[in-house]
Symmetry: D3
């Protein structure tokens, strides 16, 4: 069932959100602050349970210098003999974390160095996380992280998560200089990843984080955003009752006097504004029966995206969108953009 704009209006819908004047300054300051902390990238091999994929436990310093965890998955050494391989950094959907090292073998199996970043303070909803959100709450908050610190852009949760994402890209691009952990016979990961062929990818919340990484890291070679969340937020909160957008409504239903402040905060994080700042080629997907990220909000991000772009449209899908077919389309797209995995 379609409950959003008629399909023919979606194609040109550009959203209702306007950006704050100091959007760029806000993010420059934020990322400058992050750069004050050394990356402190450390990569530790996991026990060799798999034969075709190597697994590594990764930690680096993200926003505020806090330690962020991730998994690195590589095609097994005998299969990567032809020089540096392309990389893809993946971000998790809402409520999830990096999961288990043995999950999500697709990208490494396809020949990519696959860095799967944890989402701080999440990872207890459907896939396991291991990273605290040390900054604490900056006020009352509803369940979930969507309203954590939402009364001020400085304290808002996504300021930290987007910054972590930029640092994750930097980590995969500088794998050559990582400290290698583990008992003995440390792995040699120098020369494995080609820093000029690193893409970002994510679904839902992961899609908006990918857009943020694409917007703030000019080095990102390609962006894949499946049903990206956080786009055209003023419309989203008025056209769906589904979580997590609804967390904003729940918060404002109680904190009635904070509507303007909350809406002002969200303007610094809207995926529409992120999309306008990206130049890398991008692949989006959208499910026309999606009530979690309503299609109009995905189109708003897509139609504002400043780089070359393509969109997979799934007329009978909800938030799952294309599923494995989205992944195969992304593989095809990345192989074209980055060369073979």
């Amino acid at each position: 069932m379609y409950s959003d704009l008629p399909v023919d209006q979606l194609a040109t819908y550009r959203g209702t959100t306007s950006e704050p004047k100091d959007f760029d300054a806000f993010w420059e300051d934020t990322l400058d602050d992050a750069r004050l902390y050394p990356l402190a990238l450390k990569v530790t091999p996991c026990p060799a349970t798999l034969r075709t994929v190597e697994l590594y436990d990764v930690v680096f310093s993200g926003f505020g210098g806090e330690l962020i965890r991730a998994w690195l998955r590589l095609p097994a050494q005998p299969l990567r003999t032809e020089g540096p391989i392309p990389g893809v950094v993946q971000f998790a959907g809402y409520g999830g974390g990096r999961g288990d090292a043995h999950e999500n073998l697709f990208w490494a199996s396809a020949g990519f160095a696959h860095l799967h970043m944890d989402s701080r303070g999440q990872g207890a909803g459907w896939s396991k996380g291991a990273t605290p959100d040390g900054a604490g709450s900056a006020g009352p908050q509803g369940p979930g992280v969507m309203t954590r610190g939402i009364l001020d852009p400085e304290t808002y949760y996504y300021r930290r998560l987007f910054t972590d994402a930029v640092r994750a890209v930097q980590s995969l691009r500088s794998l050559d200089s990582a400290e290698i952990g583990g008992p003995d016979g440390a792995a040699d990961l120098r020369g494995v990843v080609d820093p000029d062929r690193v893409a970002v990818l994510g679904q839902s919340q992961g899609g908006s984080v990918a857009l943020a990484a694409g917007a703030f890291c000019p080095e990102v070679a390609a962006v894949v955003a499946f049903v990206p969340y956080l786009a055209d937020i003023p419309r989203a909160v008025s056209v769906t009752d589904a979580y997590p957008f609804r967390e904003v409504c729940d918060f404002l239903a109680v904190h009635r006097g904070s509507t303007d402040r909350v809406m002002e905060t969200l303007r610094y994080f809207d995926a529409v504004h992120l999309a306008r700042r990206s130049k890398a080629p991008a692949l989006f997907s959208v499910g026309l029966m999606d009530t979690i990220t309503p299609p109009s909000t995905v189109y708003a991000a897509y139609n504002n995206y400043a780089g070359p772009k393509d969109l997979e449209v799934w007329p009978f899908n909800g938030h799952e969108a294309g599923g494995i077919e989205d992944e195969l389309a992304a593989l095809d797209f990345l192989q074209r953009e980055l060369g073979d995995g």
Copy 2:
């Protein structure tokens, strides 16, 4: 519909949880740490919108010295001419905060000094809060605060909230020495409250916090715990699918390997163990159709309560239990225990 133990078994049910050996040491250390911070109690009159009740905005330092907010409500000065009045400290239910100053006029109208404490980091679910939980998360967490820092008693959310509660009791008992805020003509609150007649009260989460305050503050003169939450947790998580107990299940469904650690943490916070440490007279209530705090868990707390006690049983109520009739029973109880309000 009854979905818990048969009614006749409830009367003697004492629960399944055992306490850790160092339970008392853990809480002594926790409260000793809190005492390192000065109370820093400050009381500021609100604009005089009401004629029969005076309202004050209160702040004091709780766990970790963080500032905790509360409302103080007093019967209007012309009505409190006969010497110090008794006090009651109220704690909020899950997801709520201290609300608005103009809500909850019952206790002040009945002649009590009524301190309504905020719950740190909560207060966006149904009644408004204004207090951050500055400590940050100590790991991944599910929505809500029930699993915040749950992998270790030191970092668990309720360590902070219970400590705040002890400081709130101390605040109302030492109102004489509070700093009085406000533009001019500061109120004189000296001699208003009788520190030997201060009770604690709460419903659901507020009930368990009241039990904690009763257990850790021997100065508390009476305890009112309506349908207290957090009692007999090992049983609770196995007999109900309702939130917020279910947050523990959701967390462990993803963090399968952390079951023992989580259960170990919860032993330091189970209301059954709090009840065993209380000497003040107490009034409980229970709803026999309550699926949020299943009746057996309330009975487990009640049957372990070490002081004089009474229980209001509501056979056809759920978590709302006796509602206004619980409040009237509490008023009658406190008037008997503390003298007239």
Copy 3:
């Protein structure tokens, strides 16, 4: 989520209902009939459990001379020494009654004489009632009172309830001549209430009853209608599936042949037509996510209101609308209109 008209169309929406030619005659006859019964107002003091508020059990004769109950709450005598105080008559929401005497202390605490009228035959859904609806059903009816006697305006439930409301206003305005009940030392309530400063107030069903009282009693000094029910009924039953409007749909789904008769009956009770007949200053509120009284129906009443008026708009709230913030706005409004409580 918004499911009604776009926000910008709400501001001018005036509804779809037209009024019957004999609307005024119908109500004149109805109220004339009621006047045949003496008011028989009797006020009995409740035991003095509260210190700041005096409570009285009230009974008066409403529609058909049947006895209607209410609570009267007054600020305690020492606080009302400066002459007669303003009054507010409150009507209950659907399914509720006058509740317990000790609930709803806000208006008396703010200095008003507060008469809280019971709703005949209701009061078993969420707050307690004590008044029968002696008239009996005039045909088959669905659950609830919304279709009781709905086949004829003469027998429709709301004819009786609206009439009771007019009598309640008359009761508070004529408190000086009430019979005072109670064992001995009868209270003296002469001169307590200023009959020229009596407002009416209610939420949802209570809001439409307040509009009825305002329309039929020119003596009412101000009207407060939070999310008023029963407005623009032809639209309401076609844009929401929520109860109690849905009771009409359920009835007509079975009594298919009675659609015209039912719609004709409802025209005599539509809050849009009540609003057109009111001259007193009014405060309304609306929740833009309200599915119980869809915002367009509230705007239809508001935009037709004939007196000075103001509207609180809550963009992220449902039927709860502004909650305590609505009450504070009403207090501010009534203090301006009626003078201080």
Copy 4:
């Protein structure tokens, strides 16, 4: 899914309710009062739309002399040439009424005179009714009729409905003396029904009404009670959350202080006590997955039934029980007990 007692315990379960000492006196007085009103039976032929069944609109005076409607359906005259035929009086399920004359052709098609009684004040939920409940409410009530007048056996709704049922049986048995309505050529119904072969039948609420008619009319020749409602009420309200039993819980959740009075009232109407007073042969049915009338409560009525009896057990059915197969079993049963239709 089975959620009641284990199947092997059902067979001997006799219930938890005890009867009031004056049960018989209460009902004798009630029925004596009813007898003061003449039956005033009037039967009017409906337009002849059907070829095999004749339809009549019936009215008679029930409790308090109020007019109760019913349909009478007869096999067409050419098919009833062999002398008087047996009759069956049917009572409706909760929320329904007598429906449309053209519905429920089964019993007349099978050769019975079929009187389908309306339920006063019901008939807007799923099948149409046409009879008011003129007695009015005797206090606050929840939606539905289950709590109408429940604070006193004298005012309780089912006192009126059960009395109507007794009068309906009397009506079918005295069809010979009915006034025949209609424009001209009045039908001659003398000698059509054999007053010694009249059974009663109903499902759910209709089943308990049938049990009441069987208990109070010794002339009833057989009783059919499919999944009878209102049996073993104290257990029912504690083992199911489904309506309409739940209306009692909802009422008591608000009217907490009325529990004893309500339970006392219900003892006069419990189908268990009705069953103990019946001598006619009876057929019951039960659905083991029924959550509306939990199987244990049906067994309680069945096991207490004092006459010859049989029970259809449907292991995989809920409240619909045997459906058409129950009807066929009833046809077989009545043909055996009453002779051929």
Copy 5:
């Protein structure tokens, strides 16, 4: 609640589906194939449990020569002495079958020969069936029959069901030549049914099957389609989330690549195209609150219907539409069109 087009647009809405060029060829071939199988009609009397209606168990060969069951119900012999009677062939709603012989006595009682056809492979959802769908699945399918063989018109379930329907009409029209089963004294059904006065009728799925029978059998004398299913399918699947239309969405959400094939298949079965091919007088009904067959889709079929037509509109009903009142309207309609039953 209305969730489809505004009521005034419904009146002229004609749908969005276009028909395949070879629509007629496809169906001609299909029906030609069916004609290769002899009808093999056999009619066996059921035991005489009813007095006014005779019941017969019917079997005939449908699509692929597979045996299809049905019930034949006739007014009892003494009532059909005036020559051949008109007939009506009824088709079942989704998930149901022909049910029990003793159900649905309306049409025979009204004087019609009533053939109630089973739906192959259905009849386990709400009314009992007895006919296999022997053709097997032609690919993966979702629950229900809506996607059985949906990848090709040749293998689609409704090709078989529509063909069965044509054969059912032929069966009732050629009752004279049926083989009569049963132990002895075979019934003589010659001359009972007038083959020129046979109508088709159904609700929901049964309504679309009736339209198919009307479209493919010029001998059909009248068509009754209550809330017909399967009309304007491209719109239906985009405006409702209700089953069974949703089965198509569920299928395509998994089989994303098959959208075009599925939509192509459905064009051969859309009730809009069936309606265009019918000449017999027709009666439709629609419920304006129907979410199962959204009103716009019913109007699309109605507005395209090529013969004389009428439409019952039920503004407050859902998929049940007019219920017994639809049946009475149909009786009136058929008596006018076919002569008295």
Copy 6:
């Protein structure tokens, strides 16, 4: 929440089902029949999109000689240089199929030859299938396949699916003799799989199919059954309302007279009886909060399992049980039993 037997009773619970005398004869005949059809195994390489895993499209003849599809996944050729590797045959959960070739890379990545069999007629619910169930229905059926042909063991759906499973095991074990498809340069799969080291594995329905394959193929080297479905069916249908067990209840609620036949059929397919016939080492898992395959039914299968066995117990999980942690446990188990992948 636990809704099944107390945890301590689960450990020894053995179920309530008894097996038919001719259980073994029935299955011998069934498998003998299948052997009449040549296996016709054909393996076609998929385009090489992945670098570490080779993908093949597989087809073989199953029950009735019908063609069954599967995916074969192998670790890339450079990684399998040390001789034949072990194999694992996986079966899908209810409603799913073999999915996409690029999904489920775990087992091949771990070094196993992984054959993922399609489930005939399923594969439109959550993962895609490609295999018809050509046998057709043998009677009416509910949605889903759980009641397809359920009136007779010969026609029951699971007779066909279990037989397919036996043929799938045979296929992986005889890969050396497969016909290799594809345009040119056919792959050489001879010597790749060690036929003596082939395990079977599945979750839910897949778990019961794995138990069937283990019971009927003595050559199976190990069995992994996560939360196996179809065990202790008589209990299952009485303790859960969840689908797909509930399909049996839904069917019998309509086909009331078929209860004995259905229960008799199911005895030939109960996983308890399969478990008793297996000798290979087995790993099971169970979620104690599983309402889809209630834990008691899983324990019934486990406790009857005749070979060496182990059980993963997940106290806070539902039907998802251990998720990736179950897979890792299975990897560890299979590496121990079969040697390294």
